[in-house]
Amino acid sequence: MTAASQAVEKMTSLQAINLALHDALAADQNVILFGEDVGDKEGGGVVEVTKGLSSKFGDERVRSTPIAEQAIIGAAIGAALAGMRPIAEIMLMNFTTVAMDMITNHAAKLRFMSGGQTSVPLTIRMMTGAGFANGGQHSDFLEAWFAHTPGLKVAIPSNPADAYGLLRGCIEDPDPCIFVEPLGIYWVPGDPPLRGKSIPLGKARVARAGTDVTVISYGKQVNDVLAVADKLSGDIKVEVIDLRTISPYDEEALLASVKKTGRAVVVHEAVKKFGIGAEIAASITEKLFRQLKSPVLRVGGKYCPVPFSQPLEAAFMPTAAEIEGAIRATLA
């Protein structure tokens, strides 16, 4: 296979995440990985995202754990305090709830409460997302909780290349990072990453340039928004911004875009009320009120637990029709 053909070979986000973990483990002895079932004896993860890693790097550095999220995050915090670069996997984002003390009272605050004497360079990975018939306790996007906690950083990729780069960025970051892996991108092929390159946290990406309305999104919904933008391209020029990092978010990039378009829509899968969209809408409104041509609109999950029944679950999630409707409403 030639280098050129390799460069264009598609890869899924699941494969890109596996590759990022592989490359991080290979690059730095201080990187260790643990979580439920991550070892190859346990199948390399329930969807095989860590497959092959314990075989290559050994059971000491890639460890399966008991189902004990407090113990997992606590051990990761302690190892990070001692100068290692742990990557802790919490199988599903909902299961962070049983480790919230460790994440929000400890990982997030130890640097500040110690006056900068200690730090927690820790990456916590987790998958989640509605649309997979997993019901109310296996599907939530809870990024607003973490973003609302000073001391944590939160990244959510929308494609394989970003999944690789952002995960490497989180692992290299000196602060605790929440890395969310949307199920809705796991098995979708895309352009492969630049191996060895991390994407700096806090920088957004213009996924599609446009002049009429700015749509800000992250995770799987970026792809949904791009599809709508494509459909509307004949009469509306939509600029799509992929936030990539939720906290800290790239306010500069958002404001630059909205200054140009005068219109903004925020789209995410998490429930709309009290969500990231509210923060972004408020921020844009505070800073650009007089330049806005219409109110900043939000599209998000419905305000209910994620339902099981297929038609309910589909209606829970932000739909293409809702995204299109919001875009059109800003132009009305």
């Binding site: 302690g78 190892a79 001692a82 602060d175």
Partner: protein
């Protein structure tokens, strides 16, 4: 009086016994001075006095190396001091000054000083244990010989973190010592009312690790139990749970009127105050002279005054500190 069980030849050497007493006296005097200063209004804050529990961290710290790790809890100033946190940094932190070990940003419940091995002081019951496991895991992976000690109270043995941490430490054979300072009360709740087993140490059996029930007010017994556990951890033979029986003399929170205690219960324990008891024993057994101990006590008292004066004459942190140490990179204004 300490229980002088065992042959005299098995006792720690004279210099260790004297150092153990020095630490106990330091913790006792520090606590007495701090309570007086709080009551005078010169320092504002909540205080969870460890008075009465001095023997436990003093004995353990005599056995730890400076680079060994400690994670402790809000009633943990004795643990930090015994491990070697400098008194000036401690007092400046207790009073919220910029010169404190944590620049005044942590306070009494979050004393941290990695140079002394004090990595975490948590205000959350039980949370010292899962983190100590991670420090121990790093030691194990690096083979650097360091061990970790997690201090906690009897109340913490009923929270999930205790059980998750002991299980993982056992499964991974981590070099960690779990030290339960059983002072008989979880905040205001009697041990028996909230704990479904008569000894915390028995819970070790559920995790296939040694569980040791020891008189935590007896310096020799405490030292012996700690020595065995620390040697086990250092040799790579895994964790130990020590339940050290003790009593707190000043309730849960300073100002506590102890209405929930039995009549005369606290008074009974205070009459058996382990610090003067050990002093009498050291003199009776000829390990130290009155003049030597008196000089030691006076030195400690003057060091405390010096630390207090240092703290009181130190500035408060700048307001810009709100933007610092949230992340590695300072936040913009």
């Amino acid at each position: 009086m300490p229980n002088t069980q065992g042959a005299k030849a098995n006792r720690p050497p004279r210099e260790v016994l004297v150092e153990l007493y020095r630490k106990m006296t330091l913790l006792k005097q520090n606590d007495e001075r701090f309570r007086a200063v709080i009551k005078s209004g010169r320092i504002i804050g909540n205080y969870y006095s460890p008075r009465g529990q001095e023997v436990i961290p003093s004995a353990i710290s005599c056995l730890l190396k400076r680079e060994d790790y400690v994670c402790t809890i809000y009633r943990g100033i004795h643990d930090s001091l015994a491990k070697g946190v400098p008194m000036k940094l401690l007092w400046a932190e207790l009073s919220g000054r910029a010169t404190g070990s944590c620049k005044g940003k942590g306070g009494p419940m979050h004393i941290t000083h990695p140079e002394s091995g004090v990595m975490v002081t948590t205000g959350v019951v039980g949370s010292s244990m899962p983190i100590a496991n991670g420090l121990a895991l790093a030691s194990k992976l690096r083979g650097d010989g360091r061990i970790a000690v997690a201090y906690f109270g009897d109340g913490a043995s009923n929270i999930g973190a205790f059980h998750e941490a002991l299980n993982l430490a056992s499964v991974w054979q981590l070099p960690v010592v779990f030290v339960c300072q059983n002072n008989r009360y979880a905040e205001h709740t009697k041990y028996e009312w909230g704990t479904a087993i008569d000894q915390v140490a028995k819970r070790a059996a559920a995790y296939s690790i040694p569980g040791v029930h020891v008189d935590g007010n007896d310096p020799l017994a405490m030292y012996a139990a700690a020595k065995e556990a620390i040697e086990r951890a250092r040799a790579g033979n895994g964790p130990t749970l020590i339940e050290a029986m003790t009593f707190r003399f000043h309730g849960h929170l300073l100002g506590d009127v102890d209405a929930y205690m039995g009549q005369g219960e606290k008074e009974g324990w205070m009459a058996k105050d382990p610090v003067p008891a050990f002093r009498r024993w050291l003199l009776a057994e000829g390990y130290a002279s009155e003049a030597q101990l008196k000089a030691m006590e006076e030195t400690i008292a003057s060091e405390i005054e010096e630390a207090l004066n240092f703290a009181m004459s130190s500035p408060y942190p700048e307001i810009d500190e709100l933007r610092r140490d949230v992340y590695a990179q300072e936040l913009p204004q």
